[in-house]
Amino acid sequence: MAWISKNWTMSGIIKGLIVTLKHVLHIGNRPTVTVQYPYERMKLSPRFRGLHAVDENACIGCGICEVNCPNSTITIVKHNTRWYPQVNIGMCLFCGICVDVCPMNAMKMTGNYELADYTRESLVYGPDRLLFNKEVKQ
């Protein structure tokens, strides 16, 4: 067969074997890169868009985030005496539009990405789980 007369050295396969062996023996900056997830974690960037957090003092409950949310994830609910957003994480796109549009810069997104849960109800994050206190500057 013409094929074997041209390829009898199998040089391509041997080249491939060499490069894979280099990986096995870690020759030349080919380290193991696995991050053993539950035991080690990668460092998140400060801009990471995870679970929302709402500044308790800054939020005025205006509902602009509610209106601008592409997926109708946010609803404004009453918490204690004031109105705050409530986020249904199950529907959230994590697009960050709510953060962009907030006129008071009260909304931000945290690095919490482990949001899996057992029931749909527990995916709805009410103000009790979203609010954080930031000292009022002035």
Partner: protein, 382 residues
């Protein structure tokens, strides 16, 4: 002896259909007599959603079309909107957009080549591809806070300026990537078994490719020098030095080589962009935004309009996405929401050529040819 045709339904759940695509195969033994792709298993009505959402709200949905390369999707839509409303974009924003898009092209091709090799039975390449992809994704995360669905490019600019430490990390990635591509080439390019599987398989002539509306690496693998970055330049591509990668073998191998070459070209482009990126820190057009009202303006620029109303009109704007020509047609009736959004997605048009390609070949060839087409089902079904 009486023989009968065998009808095989490959998919919608099958390891190598890259998602939920179904092939209806009429087989004569192992030979494919007719192949019919059956689409629609991932249809989400994105075009209709485009009519229901405001211009800004729709951008996150474009991320989910071709989720392997979301930046070009973002950009294609935003470019259409910008053309519709005549928005100027600061130069630095354009540079950042090109960085993201070219990085995304590399990421896309890594996954594409990896899954092609996985379909052929070599599991190593996809892991190596994902290793480098991870580095790129960390860059994306650093830049916009998300790893796959970015919502970063906005009308009039980009969401945020590049953070500190981004450019050095990018340079490191570029340096790293060069060596990695050498590794890939050593592993795959001259592998006799790979050549045996790819050469003269899934051949589609230049004429057929054009007639089927194929674009991107699949078209350039058929010897047609058609790259929208060259042919219809947009953004800062006219100022950059790069070449469209063309091979004229028309077979699966050519399409694979085009992807490898394109990764190298993207690295080349990225190096130029990194060297010449403007220093001025303006990344969005202030005319189209609202200034931050109170509080300390965070790193997040709030320059984007919440309500954005382009004039009445219609526009079709297209870019060279990693998979081919990605076009957005937007008709505006002067309200806050588009009257009609039509997406011309590259995967869909490229996929239509599969029946022609695999006529008379075997199932393993269908897998190989399909792998080189590089479709993402989110892009096919929309």
């Amino acid at each position: 002896m009486e023989t009968d045709e065998l009808i095989i339904n490959m998919g919608p759940v099958h390891p190598s259909t890259h998602g939920v695509l179904r092939f209806k195969l009429r087989m004569d033994g192992e030979i494919i007599k007719e192949c019919t792709p059956v689409l629609g298993y991932l249809h989400r009505g994105t075009e209709k959603l485009g009519e229901m959402k405001t211009y800004l709200q729709f951008i996150p949905y474009t991320d989910r079309l071709d989720y392997m390369s979301a930046f070009p999707n973002n950009y294609a839509y935003v470019k259409a909107v910008e053309e519709l409303a005549g928005i100027e974009v600061p130069l630095r924003a354009e540079y950042i957009r090109v960085i993201t898009m070219e990085l995304n092209r590399i990421v896309n091709h890594l996954v594409s080549i990896g899954s092609l090799l996985l379909d052929l039975g070599a599991s190593t390449m996809i892991m190596w591809g994902f290793r480098e992809r991870e580095n790129a994704l960390q860059l994306f995360e650093k830049l916009c806070g998300a790893r796959m669905t970015f919502n970063y490019i906005k009308p009039g600019g980009v969401r945020e300026d590049i953070p500190e430490g981004f450019i050095p990390q990018l340079n490191e990635f570029l340096k790293d990537m060069e060596k990695r591509i050498e590794d890939y080439e050593q592993l795959i390019n001259s592998n006799e078994i790979f050549l045996m599987r790819m050469k003269n398989i899934g051949v589609i002539s230049a004429e057929d490719a054009i007639n089927y509306g194929m674009t991107g690496p699949t078209l350039r693998g058929s010897g047609v020098d058609y790259d929208l970055r060259k042919y219809e330049p947009y953004s800062i591509y006219p100022d950059l030095d790069f070449k469209a990668c063309v091979r004229d073998e028309c077979d699966s191998y050519a399409r694979y080589i085009v992807r490898i070459e394109e990764m190298k070209e993207s690295l080349h482009i990225l190096r130029q962009v990194v060297d010449t990126i403007p220093e001025a820190k303006i990344v969005s057009n202030p005319k189209y935004g609202v200034a931050p009202m109170t509080g300390t303006p965070s790193a997040v620029s709030t320059y984007f309009p919440r309500i954005f109303t382009p004039p009445t009109g219609e526009v079709y704007s297209r870019i060279e996405a990693p998979k081919g020509e990605l076009g957005f047609y937007i008709a505006s009736d002067g309200t806050t929401k588009p009257y009609r959004v039509k997406i011309r997605s590259p995967s869909f048009c490229n996929l239509t050529a599969i029946p022609k390609m695999v006529q008379g070949l075997k199932i393993p060839d269908l897998i190989a040819a399909f792998g080189t087409i590089d479709v993402v089902l989110g892009d096919v079904d929309r």
